[in-house]
Symmetry: C2
Subunit: 202 residues, 2 copies
């Protein structure tokens, strides 16, 4: 979208229109979640007919899945997180997450995902996949201590709780806490879950 | 509700009807969240006319606030959490939370609150109040280390992330983890946030 000039013609069927609908969908889902956002609302934001949204994406669910595709290549991000002192992986992960949060092409996706995952099964499955198989799991596998899957899901619970408490519900003083202190405090917990001693199973 | 016999007459205006509407509201909000649940849906579950819901509660927002009132007296729960070894407050808190989660009069409230707080400002404010001023804050105050408010909000982020990841999104293997192990693993983090060394602010 950002590269599109203001005076370009809007030809239905063009990649431009499709991208505009996806941008509008991200904004709508971020604001209202999957249940609250309507195809009519998305069409109005994109300045197209609702029929065109259905033409491109068939269902609201398909639209959601495509709109929520993260523009982040974890395959390149993870090695950078693993480089550097091994006892600071947790801090580097939190720093990485906060840098993503500041990106205008990522924040609406995460907001949309978290606002939808609590009520919509498709969004919940996407979040589940992200937490079970995403970067935290890759990190846990690379760190190579027992129980990598459990470690990733514990770290994921702290990560998702941080996003919810700081950015969505805005619990104070966490919501206005200095970033460097936040990185140290939450980073320590992520580090423990990924690489610390979890004790015996029984 | 639970004490009401099955054959009692349903007189509009009775406390029985009001309680039945509140029960129906809790079930509806737990399932669909504030945005998804409708007054019509609540009325149908309670087997009353929608006008009666409006008569008692005026708005869906008022209905939500009353339905979400926790049937738990934290004033009596907190001293029990503080009794016993001081380095196990975190574990006792997690154990307490899981015991609440198992109660059929509490689980729908928490589900309703978390499913609503991501999109509805009133629900978000309720969750914010619970995390800023609720039992975690009372515990942090009683433990009496610096930064009690920050400690409570950090612990709150892990608590709410646990509920979301384990019970709502069902991230594995966290979702099926043995309760005693969960209590130790998450309890350690809560303990650190409430009573550990958080390092210097700058």
């Amino acid at each position: 979208m950002s590269a599109a000039g203001p005076a370009r013609g809007r030809r239905p069927g063009s990649a431009d229109t499709r991208a505009r609908i996806l941008d509008a969908a991200r904004a709508a889902f971020a604001e209202r979640g999957f249940d609250g956002a309507t195809v009519r609302d998305v069409a109005a934001r994109a300045e197209v007919d609702p029929a065109l949204v259905h033409h491109y994406f068939a269902t609201k669910q398909r639209l959601f899945v495509e709109a929520m595709e993260l523009p982040v290549n974890f395959a390149t991000a993870v090695p950078a997180l693993l480089a550097g002192p091994p006892d600071e992986v947790g801090e580097r992960f939190v720093r990485f997450v906060l840098s993503l949060w500041d990106r205008p092409d990522v924040r609406p996706l995460w907001l949309g995902l978290i606002r939808s995952a609590t009520t919509d099964p498709v969004a919940a499955a996407m979040m589940r996949g992200l937490l079970e198989q995403g970067p935290l799991r890759v990190l846990a596998n690379a760190i190579d201590r027992p129980d990598a899957a459990l470690r990733a899901s514990l770290a994921g619970s702290q990560f998702i709780g941080l996003i919810l408490a700081r950015y969505v519900v805005e619990v104070e003083p966490l919501a206005s806490l200095d970033e460097e202190r936040l990185i140290r405090l939450i980073g320590r917990t992520i580090q423990h879950y990924l690489a610390g001693d979890l004790g015996a199973p029984a």
